[in-house]
C-alpha cells in the first residue's frame, strides 16, 4: 500500500501537513473531516456555490429510507464550522505543481459578488430580485459614447377581459418639483385619470384627489428633468427597486389570487421597466398596458412584480423568453440571478449569476445591494487566485447523471412526463419544486401508474457506457417505495435486466418493496410513445414469456446511470492522473485509492460507480492514504483555540442574565415584534441586560456579545434566535471566549418554531416568542456549570483479526505513527486470502500477502499475537484494556486507545449437490485452486457448470446475497476459458450482479463464449442429479424458452460467504451483530466503519461480504477513523452525562437494566456508578431511577421543571 508514496519517503524534505480535497460532496466532506480531525489542515475546493454534492439532492436513502438531507446536514454544518477546513466554494483548481509531500496548488475563487464573511444567508436579495429570465441585454455604449436608449418600433397592447380598474391601495404620493419641471407636458399626456393640469409654458400640478398613484407621470417625465417626486413609498430611501418590491408585496397580499386578474393600474410594471431596468418598454394606455415588444430585454421583472398576474412573459416581448432554471432542482422550477444554491446550503450565501444579473450586464437595477442589511453585495468582485502548499491531494469530484436524450427512444426532453431519476428525486423531496407532491410536469396531474426503466446509460455498449452504475436498481426501488408512501394510489413498475441488490440488507429492501406493491418486470423496454392529447405514455416491451406487450403509464422515470463529466476529465488532465476509457480514475486493486500520480488519491464515484456508504468508506480511506506519509507533519498547520480561564461562580453570586433577541434580518423581525420581546425580557427575574441585534450570529454581534458579557458581568446568556442545532455551538464558544462555562446558556428558537410557522399571526407569534424566551431564561437560571471530562488517549490500536483487513490496517496505522497490537486466532496471518488465488487483474494473492507480512515483521510499532484470542475487554474510548490468551496459555493485558474488529468471514460450505463428498463438485474457491495447481486433465477440454446462489439468497441457507460470487464466477470462468478455449462453461444464475466495472468482465465472459442461463428457484428451478457416475442438470433456458440438459465434468458451486463465530466477541465488546452474524455499523450510510460504541471500528468481511479490494479500502478507512481519536493527546467528553448520587442509591439495578449501552454498574462502594466517558447522554436512566438519584447536566429534572413552571407563569 505504500508503493504510491515511496518516491516521497526517501527524500529528506519534511512533508506539508495539509491536504487539498477536490469536491465537496459527501466524499470530499468525509475526507476533509477525517483529515482535519486528525490534525491535518484541509483546503476543500468545490466548484458549485455550496458543498453537499449529489447526496444533498436526494430525498431519501436506501436501504433505511433515512431522509438524505437530515443525515447530511450535520456534516455540512460540521465542515462549514471546522477551524481547520478552509472552504473554497464556487472555485476551481487551476494548477498543481510539485511532488507528493510538497505540492503547490493554485485555486481560483470565481467572483461570487456576495461577501461570504458578511452575508448572513437571510435570502432577502433573492426575494427582492425581480429577474426571472436570461435577458437580451441592450448593448452597453462604449466609453465616452452618449448613452441612448432604443425606442420601441413594434408595440402591442395587452388587454384584459375588462377595463383596468385603478386601485389606490398602498399608493405612493406623486408631486411635481417646481424647480425641475420643464413644462413639457409629458406627464399631463401620460396621466389617464385627468389628475394633472398643465398648460403650455406652465408647470404641471397634480390633483391629489384624482391621483390613483399609478406612477404614469413618473414614467413619462423625461430623464433629463426628473421633475416628478415620490413620497410615502416605503423603502424608497434604499432604491426605487426596493420600493417597487415593497409595494408589490403589499398589493399581492391584498389582491393576489390563484387566477390571473384584471389590471389594477398599480403601474409597478412600467415603473420597474423604466426606472429600475432602464428600458422603458412598458406604458399604461387606456385599455391596458402597451408593450414595446422589440425593445423588451425579457428580464421578467414586470411579470414577477405584477401583483395580480395580469402580465405574462410571452405577451410583453416578441423574443423567445429564456427562463432561469434552478440547477439544484434539476431545472424543474425557476430561480433568480441571485440564488442560494439550496435552503440548507453551506455556506448559505448566494451567488450572483454573471450571465443573467441585470446590474452586472447593463448597469441598471442593483436592487439587491440596496436592500442587503449587512452590505454584503459587491458588484465589483473579481475572481481571486490563491496558492496553497499541500502534501497530498484527494480527488473526489463526483459524477453527473447520464444525458438521457442520447437514448432518444425513451423520449426524454420531448415528452414532458418522461423524467430522469434525479428529477424524480427532487419531486419527492419536501424542499423540492413541488414540496414533495408527485405531480406530472406536463399538466400537474397526480400520476397513478409510474414506470421506471433501468439501465438507461448503463450496461449499454451502444452509447459507450458498458459499465453498471451500481446504484440504479436500489434507487429505483427506493423511489418507487417512497412514491407509494407519498401517495398510496401510485402503482409503480420497475423494468429491469438483472436486479442488482448486492449490498448489505439490499435484498430485504427489495422484498419489502415487493410487499409494498412495487411491481418488478424483467424486460427491456424498446420504446416509449406519448399520447399527445393526454400526455400518457405507452411502453413497448417483450415479456418473459416472449410476448410483445404494450402498456400505458402516466409517468416514466428513466433510471439514468452515472458518468464522469467533461469538466472532471479536464481537471484530471490538469492534475496529470490517468483515467480509463470512461473517465474513471485508474487505480490498483491493492491500492484502491492511489491514482497514477503519487500523492494524489481518488475517492468516491470518480474512481468507479458506487453508492453512499462505499463512497463514505473510500473517503475515509483516501484521507488515510493521503495523510499516512504526512504523519510527521501532523498538527503543524492547524489552529487550536486558546480559551481564557473560566470564571467560577460563587454560590451567593446574584443572577445576571443577558438576553439577545435576534431579528435574523427580517426573518424573525417581520413577524415577531422583537422590540416588545426585548422589553418583556428585561422584566424577567434575573435579567440585567437585553438587546435585539439584527443578526446575533454575525461576526461583529458575537464580538459585541463577548464584550457585553464582560461589561455587564453576565453569568447566564440566553439567545432567542434560530435553531440550536446549527447555532448553539457558535454561541457557546463565544461564552467560553468570555470566560463563562458554556452550559450557562440556553437558546429559544423563535425563527423556525415561531416566525416561520406563524407568519400570518404576528401578535400571537410575539406572545409565543415571549413565552419561549421566558422558558429559556428559566432554564438558564436553573443551569449549573458542567465540567467536560478530559482524559489522556493511549495512542495504540488493537486489531482483532489478522486477515487482509487486519494486516492492511496494522501497516497503515503504524505508518500513521500509532502502536498496533494485531491479534489473530490462527497460527498464521492472512485469513481468507490464504485460500484465494488471484486478484481481479490476475496477480497472485500469495505475493501480496508476502509483502504485507514482511512489512508487518519489519515495523517495530506492530506487535503480532498469533494463535491468540481476546478473552476480556474493559475501559472506554482512548483508554481500553484487553486481555488476550496466548498459545502458552498465559494471559496478557494490552492497553490501547481504540479497537478495530477485523474478524473476517469464511466461505460457506453447505452439503448440497454432493459438495464435500464428490470430487467433481466444488466451490468457486476450490475451483480457483484447481485452476492454479494445474490438476485439471488437460488432454480433453472439461466442461463446467457453475451454479450461482448455491446457498445464498436462500432462507434455508444464507438469506442474503454474498456480493462477490458473480464476479468470482466470471473471473474463474474467464481464466478457465483462457486455459481451455474450447471447453464449455455454463453459468446458471438468478441475477448476474457484476456491479460497477465488474460488468466489463461479465461482458468479456459472454464474448469469450461462456453461456449464461437464468433460473429462478420458484418459477424455473434447476434440477441437479450429482453422483459418482456424473452430473446431470436440467433447466429451462429463458432465452430460447426450451429445456436444456447439461452433463458437465465439473459442477462449481458459488456458495457465498458466511460470518465467523463472533458471538462471544460481540458480547464482550457490547457491539451488535445482525441476524446473519455480521457486525452492525453505527450508521448504514454515513458511518460504515464505525461500530456503535465510541472508539470501536470494523473493517473487511466482518461487516459483510465484500471483495479484497473493498476490504483493503475499508481497512484504510477504519484507520482514518482511528486516527481522528489516536492523533489527539486527550479527548473531551460532553458535559451532559448522567451522574449517580450514591447517598440515595438503593442498588435496585433499574439503571443497569435500562441503559441501552450497558454503562451503569455497581461499584465496590455498593452504589450504581456511571462512567462519564461511556455515557451517551440520553437520560433514560435519569427518568427510570425510582430513587431519583441520577442527575443529568442541563436536562435535569430541575431544568425541565423550571421550564414547565415558566410555561404557564405569565
Amino acid at each position: 500500500m505504500t508503493g504510491n508514496l515511496s518516491t516521497f519517503s526517501g527524500s529528506m524534505q519534511s512533508p506539508t501537513g495539509a491536504v487539498m480535497v477536490i469536491g465537496g460532496g459527501i466524499s470530499g466532506m468525509q475526507s476533509a473531516l477525517d483529515l482535519a480531525n486528525a490534525g491535518i489542515k484541509v483546503y476543500l475546493v468545490e466548484s458549485s456555490p455550496a458543498i453537499g454534492g449529489k447526496m444533498a439532492q436526494l430525498d431519501k436513502t436506501f436501504p433505511t429510507n433515512d431522509c438524505s438531507m437530515c443525515i447530511v446536514s450535520p456534516k455540512l454544518v460540521e465542515v462549514g464550522r471546522h477551524k481547520n477546513i478552509e472552504l473554497f466554494t464556487h472555485s476551481e483548481v487551476k494548477e498543481l505543481t510539485g511532488n507528493a509531500g510538497s505540492f503547490t496548488a493554485t485555486i481560483v475563487r470565481h467572483a461570487r459578488y456576495v461577501d461570504v464573511g458578511a452575508c448572513t444567508g437571510c435570502g432577502l436579495c433573492e426575494f427582492v430580485c425581480p429577474v426571472t429570465q436570461l435577458s437580451y441585454f441592450p448593448e452597453v455604449p462604449a466609453e465616452g459614447e452618449k448613452k441612448s436608449r432604443a425606442k420601441a418600433k413594434v408595440k402591442r397592447v395587452i388587454k384584459g377581459p375588462g377595463l383596468p380598474q385603478p386601485t389606490s391601495a398602498h399608493k405612493w404620493t406623486f408631486t411635481v418639483d417646481d424647480e425641475a419641471c420643464a413644462m413639457c407636458g409629458m406627464c399631463h399626456r401620460a396621466c389617464l385619470h385627468g389628475a394633472i393640469s398643465w398648460e403650455k409654458k406652465q408647470k404641471a400640478v397634480i390633483d391629489q384627489a384624482k391621483c390613483t398613484g399609478c406612477g404614469a407621470c413618473l414614467v413619462a417625465c423625461p430623464e433629463k428633468f426628473l421633475a416628478i417626486k415620490v413620497a410615502d413609498a416605503p423603502d424608497l430611501e434604499k432604491s426605487i427597486g426596493a420600493a417597487v418590491y415593497a409595494r408589490s408585496v403589499s398589493l399581492k397580499k391584498e389582491f393576489a389570487g390563484p387566477e390571473a386578474q384584471d389590471c389594477i393600474r398599480c403601474g409597478l410594471c412600467a415603473i420597474a421597466c423604466e426606472k429600475v431596468m432602464n428600458i422603458g418598454a412598458l406604458k399604461m394606455v387606456e385599455e391596458g398596458i402597451e408593450a414595446g415588444v422589440d425593445i423588451c430585454q425579457v428580464c421578467g421583472a414586470c411579470v414577477s412584480l405584477c401583483p395580480v398576474n395580469y402580465l405574462s412573459i410571452d405577451q410583453v416581448t416578441s423574443r423567445t423568453p429564456r427562463p432561469l432554471l434552478n440547477r439544484f432542482n434539476e431545472g424543474l422550477n425557476g430561480r433568480k440571478p441571485v440564488n442560494i444554491h439550496y435552503p440548507q446550503a453551506v455556506p448559505r450565501v448566494p451567488v450572483i449569476d454573471e450571465k443573467s444579473c441585470v446590474q452586472l450586464n447593463s448597469g441598471a437595477c442593483g436592487t439587491c445591494a440596496t436592500i442587503c442589511g449587512v452590505g454584503a453585495i459587491h458588484y465589483d468582485h473579481r475572481e481571486v487566485e490563491t496558492t496553497v502548499d499541500i502534501g497530498s491531494v484527494i480527488f473526489s469530484p463526483g459524477i453527473e447523471v447520464f444525458d438521457a436524450r442520447v437514448r432518444g427512444e425513451f423520449g426524454y426532453g420531448l415528452y414532458k412526463n418522461v423524467l430522469t431519476s434525479i428529477e424524480f428525486e427532487r419531486l419527492l423531496s419536501a424542499s423540492g419544486p413541488t414540496s414533495g407532491t408527485v405531480a406530472r410536469p406536463g399538466d400537474g396531474k397526480h400520476p397513478q401508474k409510474i414506470a421506471w426503466i433501468q439501465c438507461v446509460g448503463s450496461r449499454d455498449h451502444s452509447c459507450d457506457r458498458d459499465y453498471c452504475s451500481s446504484v440504479c436498481c436500489m434507487y429505483a426501488t427506493k423511489e418507487a417505495f417512497i412514491a407509494r408512501e407519498h401517495d398510496s394510489a401510485i402503482e409503480p413498475t420497475i423494468f429491469y435486466i438483472d436486479m442488482r441488490s448486492f449490498g448489505k440488507n439490499f435484498d430485504q429492501y427489495v422484498n419489502r418493496a415487493k410487499e409494498h406493491k412495487v411491481r418488478y418486470v424483467r424486460a427491456m423496454v424498446s420504446r416509449v410513445f406519448e399520447d399527445p392529447l393526454t400526455g400518457d405514455l405507452e411502453l413497448r416491451y417483450v415479456d418473459e414469456s416472449g410476448k410483445r406487450q404494450r402498456e400505458v403509464f402516466d409517468m416514466v422515470v428513466l433510471s439514468v446511470g452515472i458518468q464522469v463529466s467533461q469538466s472532471t476529465k479536464k481537471l484530471a488532465r490538469k492534475l496529470d492522473i490517468a483515467l480509463d476509457r470512461y473517465g474513471f480514475a485508474v487505480t490498483d486493486c491493492y491500492q484502491p485509492l492511489a491514482t497514477s500520480r503519487p500523492g494524489i488519491f481518488v475517492s468516491g464515484a470518480a474512481g468507479g460507480p458506487k453508492d453512499i456508504p462505499e463512497t463514505v468508506c473510500e473517503a475515509s480511506a483516501a484521507a488515510e492514504a493521503a495523510s499516512a506519509s504526512l504523519a510527521e507533519a501532523r498538527g503543524s498547520l492547524i489552529t487550536i483555540d486558546a480559551l481564557p480561564p473560566e470564571r467560577t461562580p460563587g454560590p451567593d453570586d446574584e443572577l445576571r442574565i443577558g438576553v439577545f433577541i435576534c431579528h435574523c434580518g427580517t426573518n424573525i423581525a417581520s413577524v415577531v415584534d422583537v422590540d416588545a420581546v426585548t422589553a418583556y425580557a428585561r422584566t424577567l427575574p434575573g435579567v440585567v441586560y437585553a438587546e435585539h441585534p439584527l443578526y446575533t450570529c454575525s461576526q461583529d454581534s458575537q464580538e459585541r456579545m463577548r464584550e457585553i458579557i464582560g461589561e455587564h458581568r453576565l453569568n447566564r446568556v440566553v439567545t432567542s434566535a434560530c435553531s440550536p442545532t446549527t447555532h448553539e455551538p457558535l454561541f457557546q464558544s463565544t461564552l467560553q471566549q468570555a470566560g463563562l462555562n458554556k452550559y450557562f446558556f440556553d437558546m429559544a428558537n423563535i425563527r423556525d418554531q415561531c416566525s416561520w410557522v406563524h407568519p400570518n399571526d404576528p401578535d400571537l407569534a410575539t406572545e409565543k416568542a415571549k413565552r419561549l424566551t421566558r422558558m429559556a431564561v428559566a432554564n438558564a437560571t436553573a443551569g449549573v456549570p458542567l465540567d467536560e471530562l478530559e482524559f489522556a488517549v493511549d495512542a495504540r490500536l488493537l486489531i482483532v483479526g489478522g486477515g487482509v483487513a487486519g494486516m492492511t490496517a496494522a501497516v497503515e496505522a503504524a505508518r500513521q505513527g500509532f502502536g498496533v497490537y494485531l491479534v489473530e486466532r490462527e497460527a498464521q496471518l492472512g485469513g481468507q486470502l490464504l485460500n484465494l488465488q488471484r486478484s481481479v487483474d490476475g496477480r497472485k494473492f500469495s505475493d501480496f500477502l508476502q509483502t504485507l507480512t514482511e512489512k508487518i515483521a519489519a515495523d517495530e510499532r506492530i506487535r503480532v499475537f498469533t494463535s491468540s484470542e481476546v478473552v476480556e475487554q474493559s475501559g472506554f474510548v482512548g483508554s481500553f484494556q484487553t486481555d488476550i490468551v496466548m498459545p502458552s496459555g498465559a494471559t496478557r493485558t494490552l492497553k490501547h486507545g481504540a479497537i478495530l474488529v477485523a474478524t473476517g468471514a469464511e466461505e460457506y460450505r453447505p452439503e448440497i449437490h454432493g459438495l464435500g463428498t464428490l470430487g467433481h463438485v466444488m466451490t468457486q474457491t476450490d475451483f480457483g485452486a484447481v485452476l492454479e495447481n494445474g490438476s485439471l486433465d488437460t488432454r480433453h477440454h472439461p466442461s463446467v457448470v457453475m451454479l450461482q446462489c448455491a446457498g445464498s439468497r436462500d432462507e434455508e441457507h444464507l438469506a442474503y446475497c454474498s456480493r462477490v460470487c458473480c464476479n468470482h464466477a466470471v473471473k474463474n470462468g474467464l481464466r478457465f476459458k483462457e486455459m481451455f478455449p474450447k471447453a464449455r462453461v455454463d453459468v446458471l444464475y438468478r441475477d448476474m450482479r457484476c456491479y460497477g466495472l465488474g460488468e466489463l468482465d461479465y461482458r468479456a465472459a459472454r464474448q469469450a463464449g461462456i453461456n449464461f442461463i437464468r433460473f429462478d428457484p420458484e418459477t424455473n428451478p434447476v434440477t441437479i442429479n450429482a453422483g459418482e457416475a456424473g452430473i446431470d442438470i436440467t433447466v429451462t433456458d429463458p432465452s430460447i424458452r426450451l429445456p436444456v440438459r447439461l452433463q458437465p465434468d465439473l459442477l462449481v458451486l458459488s456458495t457465498g460467504m458466511k460470518s465467523r463465530d463472533t458471538e462471544e466477541l460481540a458480547s464482550m465488546l457490547r457491539v451488535p451483530r445482525n441476524k446473519a452474524g455480521f457486525f452492525i455499523e453505527a450508521h448504514a450510510k454515513l458511518r460504515p466503519v464505525d461500530l456503535p460504541s465510541e472508539g470501536l471500528f470494523m473493517a473487511g468481511t466482518a461487516h459483510g461480504p465484500k471483495s479484497s479490494t473493498e476490504t483493503i479500502a475499508q481497512a484504510q478507512a477504519a484507520v482514518a477513523r482511528v486516527a481522528t481519536l489516536l492523533s489527539k493527546k486527550s479527548l473531551k467528553m460532553s458535559g451532559i452525562v448522567s451522574r449517580v448520587d450514591p447517598t440515595n442509591c438503593a442498588v435496585c439495578l433499574t439503571c443497569v437494566r435500562a441503559c441501552p449501552y450497558g454503562v451503569p454498574f455497581i461499584n465496590d462502594q455498593h452504589s450504581a456508578e456511571i462512567n462519564p466517558a461511556l455515557c451517551q447522554g440520553c437520560g433514560i436512566c435519569v427518568a427510570e431511577c425510582p430513587a431519583k438519584t441520577i442527575t443529568m447536566g442541563r436536562y435535569d429534572d430541575r431544568n425541565i421543571r423550571a421550564k414547565i413552571e415558566s410555561y404557564s407563569a405569565s
Partner: protein
C-alpha cells in the same frame, strides 16, 4: 427540548398538567429509529401509564399522546400538532384549570431533538 423522549418521566408529564396544561404531546423518533436505541419505546410506555393515571383521577381521557416523527417531516409535525390541538379543543379545558378558573387551551409541547 430533550436529548431523547426516554429522558421524560411520569412526574414531569404530570407536572405539566399540574401547571395548567390541557394536553401534552410527546414527540419522539420513529419506532425502531431511536437515536438512543430504545428511548422512544420507554417513553411510549410512560405516556401510556400517565394516560391511565389521568383517566383514573378523572382528568383524562385523550389529554396525552405520543407521536413519532423523523427529523425531516416538518409538515407531518404541523399536521400532528393541529390534530392534537383539535382533539384537546374537543375535550375542553383541563379540570385543573376549571377549578382554578383558567381556560387556557394550549398544549405544552415536549419536542425531542436528535
Amino acid at each position: 427540548m430533550l436529548p431523547c423522549t426516554g429522558r421524560i418521566d411520569e412526574s414531569l408529564l404530570l407536572k405539566a398538567f399540574e401547571n395548567g396544561a390541557d394536553g401534552v404531546m410527546v414527540i419522539g423518533c420513529l419506532e425502531g429509529d431511536c437515536h438512543y436505541i430504545s428511548g422512544n419505546i420507554r417513553a411510549r410506555a410512560r405516556v401510556e401509564r400517565v394516560y391511565a393515571i389521568l383517566e383514573r383521577i378523572k382528568i383524562g381521557p385523550n389529554r396525552i399522546r405520543m407521536y413519532n416523527l423523523s427529523a425531516g417531516e416538518g409538515s407531518k409535525f404541523a399536521a400532528f400538532a393541529n390534530e392534537f390541538v383539535n382533539q384537546i379543543r374537543e375535550v375542553g379545558p383541563s379540570p385543573i384549570n376549571l377549578v382554578r378558573g383558567a381556560t387556557k387551551t394550549e398544549a405544552v409541547t415536549a419536542k425531542e431533538t436528535t
